[in-house]
């Protein structure tokens, strides 16, 4: 089984490659790369003329929630992966906050077994850091890591007791496991539902102050320094958090950061007249903050962009803003959101792709996310200019709570390959 894609604009953030050329795929791996607008590379069973479209590594998404097991009405691994490949995402890490919680070897295996039979994309399980995500007893981090869990997190609910978190990080470090934490002080967040500030005040909504993120981040970073644990700060939303990260890195901490793609696209004003699809945590911040985070992404101060895909069915969103669930569907819009930053000027194509391909792959040690000989043939063909209207009734995830609903976007995936096999075509 071999496939040759030629006449494509090859984009490989890992090597900085941005040239016309082609690739040869054999038995699921990229086996040759050639540059120049020539014909097919090698003798392949199948040949695709990309016609100048962009060919890039498939996206790697470090933060996806599904409802499987337990809330299959929200999303299954199958429906999430269907949406993923339509958005160009070929590897996704699914969060442990399911029913039951993925806090056990058997559940890690369940996720990978279910993914094998039902999912179009590669699915990696994140394990729960504490049993039941209750923040009390450490989960079986070592055995889950051995079973394939790629990172450990307490999900949306940070561990409130720093002593328990410290021990879990100490233990995780000794087993070589990565911990991902949401920097969020739950007491300060309180009953907040959107960014604290004048807009929230005018709308009469309780605010989530930035200090909640700073204090949560400072605590987690200091524990990373003390324990030597590799830490991913999950969905940072302010430049000051990045200053804290830089300080910890200077002290030797091994820390990475992610940001939700929608936080780079929307600001607090988009909440408008109580649009619950725009209710996320961390909340959409003020415009100055959003611009600062885009600049930080360009400067390489943010390591990865995630979809933070969090499917919520209508019954969770058709509620007064304060009562609605947090969370936004995002698998199908991550790439377009980043491409908007290319069209608007601040980012180059490679700068937009790095935090969703090679960088997250390197963070958790995946071989995917690059156009290189020997790499898994997870690739996408996309047209960076193709305009489209995001309408939630056309989204492929089971829950379609997308804040992009009704937005005109530019740039879209046309074909997606996982392990050399085409899993999506538009």
């Amino acid at each position: 089984m071999s496939l040759s894609i030629f006449n494509a604009r090859l984009l490989d953030p890992a090597s900085g490659l941005d040239e016309i050329g082609g690739i040869l795929i054999e038995d699921g791996f990229i086996t040759a790369i050639s540059l120049g607008a020539t014909g097919a590379v090698g003798n392949a069973n199948e040949v695709i003329d990309a016609g100048g479209l962009c060919l890039a590594p498939g996206l790697i998404d470090l933060r996806v929630k599904t409802g499987e097991p337990g809330d299959e009405q929200k999303e299954t691994l199958a429906t999430a992966s269907r949406a993923a490949v339509a958005g160009g995402v070929t590897s996704l890490v699914v969060m442990p906050d399911t029913k039951p919680v993925v806090d056990d070897v058997a559940l890690v295996r369940y996720i990978s077994d279910r993914a094998k039979v039902s999912a179009k994309a590669r699915i990696y399980a994140a394990g729960a850091l504490t049993v039941g995500l209750e923040g009390h007893a450490m989960a079986e981090i070592g055995m889950m890591a051995d079973a394939g869990a790629v990172l450990f997190t307490n999900g949306d609910a940070p561990i409130s007791n720093p002593s328990i978190l410290k021990r879990a990080m100490t233990y995780a470090a000794s087993r070589g496991a990565i911990v991902m934490s949401r920097p969020d002080d739950s007491a300060l967040k309180g009953s907040g539902v959107m960014n604290a500030g004048a807009f929230a005040a005018r709308k009469g909504l309780a605010g989530i102050p930035k200090e909640a993120e700073w204090i949560g981040a400072a605590r987690d970073l200091m524990l990373a320094e003390a324990t030597g644990c590799t830490l991913i700060l999950d969905q940072v939303s302010t430049p000051r958090t990045l200053e804290l990260v830089a300080d910890s890195r200077a002290r030797g901490a091994n820390v990475f950061t992610t940001i939700a793609a929608h936080s780079l696209f929307f600001n607090e004003i988009d909440v408008g007249d109580y649009l619950t699809y725009c209710k996320v945590n961390p909340p959409f911040r003020d415009e100055e903050t959003r611009q600062a985070m885009i600049a930080a992404l360009k400067a390489g101060e943010i390591d990865s962009v995630v979809s933070a895909h969090d499917p919520q069915p209508p019954e969770e969103k058709r509620l007064p803003f304060g009562e609605a669930s947090f969370g936004a569907a995002g698998l199908e819009t991550t790439l377009s959101a980043l491409l908007s930053l290319v069209h608007d000027g601040p980012l180059t194509l490679l700068e937009a792709l790095a935090p969703i391909t090679s960088k997250p792959a390197d963070m958790i040690g995946l071989p995917e996310g690059r156009l290189a000989e020997g790499a898994p043939a997870d690739v996408i063909l996309f047209d960076p200019n193709k305009p489209w209207l995001c309408e939630r009734e056309h989204l492929l995830s089971r829950s379609t709570n997308s804040p992009f609903d009704g937005r005109r976007l530019q740039g879209r995936v046309l074909r997606t390959f996982v392990g050399g096999v085409q899993v999506f075509e538009r």
């Binding site: 079986e140 070592g142 100490t170 233990y171 324990t227």
Partner: protein, 315 residues
Amino acid sequence: MSKAAYHYSFDHEHLLGIDGLHPLDLTHILDLANDYAEATRTGQRADPVLSGKTVVNLFFENSTRTMSSFEIAARRLGADVVSMPVAQSSVKKGETLIDTAMTLNAMKPDVLVVRHSASGGAKLLSRKVDCAVINAGDGTHEHPTQGLLDTLTIRRNKGRIEGLKVVICGDIVHSRVARSTTMALHLLGAEVHLCAPRTLMPSGTETWGAASATSDFDRALQGADVVMMLRLQLERMDGAYLPSRREYFRYFGLTQERLALAKGDAIVMHPGPMNRGIEIESAIADGERSVITEQVEMGVAVREAVLHLLAGGRP
């Protein structure tokens, strides 16, 4: 009795820890203890060097085995023994350690054997009484007679201490046994490697004389002459310091396969009481390489030697 015993005087008022002892002190105690062990094995009665002396066992923490061991040792040397498991008595009524010590001191004992849950408890007591104090375990600090009995057991089985590779695995951070045994073995020239999940490994173990500290048990075991497993307190498991018993056993349990990584003639030790199936497989605990019951036997011998040296005049 070996010659060393005659040419070196044990110049210590108390035995509060291995810390502060000289290698010659250790050798001196071990030689004398070995003589007592041999005497017991051959059915000889020990000289009643503690005849007319009073030994008080003051145990603020429950411990049947250590208290019995001291009691038997003292009786073999002819002492009058009073054992006070204070854990159930007046201390519960609010009496402090010092109050209890002062009261007992007024009764003029010759030796106080004390176990207390606070590190430094034995030291505090020694400052307030006029008799010899033997630390039978103070908090997470030291348990010197355990360190000595471990060392004696190893020396009897291996013929030496110097140059041996000893691996101690388990809850190092909370273990007074680990501290005393590591220091004793290091003083006599062994290479001691400590192994624990990182949550149970303190920093600075090199100051005890440990050659290394690791959470990779398999690697630590390679070429070991002695493998000592420590007891894991049940309350430390199940999520507090460790995920679960089965995960602990998976990475730190001593199994036949793991033991095969050590030298072919490696011996297995455990200070007891054991959690079978958590830190050690039953087949190993009861197997031919286990010297666990010999440790208990040497416990009495070492305590006879220590009591003798502190209260029985020069041997």
